[in-house]
Symmetry: C2
């Protein structure tokens, strides 16, 4: 298995060297061909997917996991359209990040160049296969796609279609390769192929991400887990606060930018707590509340420290009243996973203190936490949301899939 993964990585490196010389037009033509081929191959992809779905059901896979695994013609059309949208985005490769003329006449430019070979280790959804391959290709890199075992036939079908389209447009098919998911060791070999793979991105549950971080010797970008807070300040517009809490918690509960914890300033608790409890109960949200919340509705279950630390990814929220803005910041620094925090306030000073005090990838002032998203931020495509501080933090688009090099041009300068 190690040999197989390393061979794939070597082929990917050599293909990436070809891609590094390709023009934007060549890359975009390949992406458009890939999108068209995916739509044209809908039937084959759905047939492969049907086998995966049947296999998953047979193994007693929970229905929500089966749902994420399941494709239909609309879902295929949607990810094909995503590939087409990547073609329309500007090419990040070649962008000049900074530059200057040095005192000795050297011209210094820092420019974006391809990363090389990017490994993706992910769970569930087959659409990630097409998304990730397209983003990596546009950013000038080869992708090694290691999805989950239960999606293996779907992923193989999608990869086969994209490889054929690549080859037909004259780029190496080995720019996109599926890594066998038969046993766990293929993921381990991928994340330890130091020197062959430049970057590994895990996408999935907390367990997967922790395993990759611990075992990988290839540099990793951690994605995803979001224990997201909304803090309603003493100076908040309470109507706006109601809307933002409800939207952040309930607009979609299974995503990393959904709110999981509510903190309310004591000065407004008497007025705000009963209102937000009613609004959340109306939407069937289970509240884990402190004494102030329980006073508003005795049916509220008591909040535990474990709840404070939990990313529910469900219609549940932990809720506390805090004595001050600083207490809110301290609570968030203690329990947050560093994804997104929001403050609702009319006070500029409170907004500034909050944004400087918390330490997360995104901070919202008077806006829903659901906006932490590459599409919403205008990046056009997103390969995940980084919750680490190195390299990329927050939604990652094409730029974050590149590295840079310094080009120094002279006419014989010596030291």
């Amino acid at each position: 298995m190690k040999q197989m993964v390393h061979d794939a990585a070597r082929r990917a490196r050599s293909a990436a060297t070809v891609l590094a010389q390709a023009s934007r037009a060549e890359k975009d033509a390949a992406l458009i061909a890939m999108a068209e081929a995916l739509v044209a191959a809908t039937e084959e992809i759905l047939a492969a997917n049907a086998l995966d779905v049947a296999g998953a059901r047979e193994e007693g896979t929970p229905e929500n996991v089966v749902d994420r695994l399941s494709l239909d013609a609309g879902r295929v059309a949607a990810f094909a359209d995503g590939v087409r949208q990547v073609a329309a985005l500007p090419d990040p490769v070649g962008e000049v990040v900074r530059g200057s003329s040095l005192p000795n006449g050297l011209e210094l430019r820092q420019i974006r160049v391809p990363m090389g070979v990017i490994g993706m280790i992910y769970e569930g959804r087959p659409n990630v296969t097409a998304d990730a391959a397209a983003i990596c290709l546009k950013a000038g890199s080869a992708s090694l796609l290691r999805g989950s075992r239960n999606a293996a036939r779907s992923n193989a079908a999608i990869v086969a279609v994209m490889r054929d389209a690549l080859a037909a447009t004259g780029l190496p098919a080995d720019l996109i390769q599926a890594i066998a998911a038969d046993d766990r060791s293929s993921a381990t070999h991928l994340m330890q192929a130091r020197g062959l793979v430049d970057l590994v991105i895990p996408r999935g549950g907390a367990g997967l991400i922790r395993a990759v971080v611990e075992e990988s010797t290839v540099p990793v970008i951690e994605t995803g887990t979001g224990n997201v807070h909304v803090y309603v300040d003493a100076d908040a517009d309470l109507e706006m606060a109601l809307d933002i809490v409800v939207n952040s918690k309930t607009q979609r509960t299974s995503v990393c930018n959904a709110a999981e914890s509510l903190l309310v300033h004591a000065n407004i608790a008497e007025e705000f707590v009963p209102k937000i409890v009613a609004a959340l109960h109306e939407r069937d949200v289970l509240i884990h509340g402190d004494a102030s919340f329980q006073a508003a509705d005795p049916s509220i279950v008591p909040v535990t420290e474990e709840d404070d630390a939990t990313e529910f990814l469900a219609s549940e929220i932990s809720a506390r009243v805090v004595d001050s803005l600083d207490a809110a910041i301290d609570h968030i620094r203690c329990y947050s996973s560093g994804h997104t925090e929001a403050i609702v306030t009319r006070s500029l000073a409170s907004a500034q203190r909050f944004t400087r005090g918390v330490d997360s990838a995104a901070v919202m002032v008077n806006a829903s936490t659901r906006f932490t998203d590459g599409g919403e931020f205008g990046f056009g495509a997103e390969i995940g949301i980084s919750t680490q501080k190195l390299h990329a933090r927050g939604p990652m688009g094409l730029r974050e899939m590149t590295t840079t090099t310094y080009l120094v041009t002279g006419d014989g300068q010596l030291r």
Copy 2:
């Protein structure tokens, strides 16, 4: 030991929270006070250093290592001056990296914020202690400094002086802490203090760097190793090529941006090889050459594949004639450590093909490889040269010691 390292990291985190709120003026005042205190404490620092040097000699440490360990009043003044220079640099924290107004009226800004807690694991030179502490402080982060055992007393003296100066200016002394180097495990605990330490930077030999990369669960930036190439193209100005090869190889041999390999295009080999052999021999450089080089001077030792892969860090160079620019690029992609490569050419097309074809942190066109340096690039301070692609590549200054956050300001936007 684990407890001790983790306690230090916790104190550093809490100190970093205070520093994150400090103004540029407060940070600069602290840095200037540190620089003055280091000069004032020269005698104590030299006394501690004398004990380290005596201990190292007693253990039979090689004289070049003892030399790097040894301080005198001039060296103390030099690193104190370095700290003062860091104070004079612009503050990277708060810099707006990009920003836009989104269609829904949200204002999006990506701004630089402090990394938090940075661990340095390094060998030999005590000046790294002062340099690293100053750069981390200016970038808003606390530093945990784990130097080598043989420099422990020097490092402890330098750290004590800087901590006192910090405390006197009102910032927490725990922003700068030395980690005991009594046994190897303190380094291991530092690089596995995930959640407490945000970044670890190893500086030292290849063995140290490999160990950190393999054992660390905290994100790492690899620094340093440089198997640096100079390629002399068919279209080169041969006088310029002579100067650049000689300067790249001999101006200082023990540094990572010194040339280690020479590649010469076959078309000019007959004229150029005897000249460069003479010039290098005049400067006592040992040449490991292929048949063409041996033909120019039979005393030249035959080059092996191991030589091609070796960073000599000494007055030695491997040298080969190549048939084409592409052969040079292939050789470099195979053997380079991704630090710096240079081409000497008058051809714009060759320069473009070379810069796109190699995959290194810096590429020089008609300039000495010795220019890959934070000081030469105008960064004002350098904490090392990254040879990895993630986060920072090439010389790292203050900006590279920060991360970013997205600030999103709205007036009640919902999804």
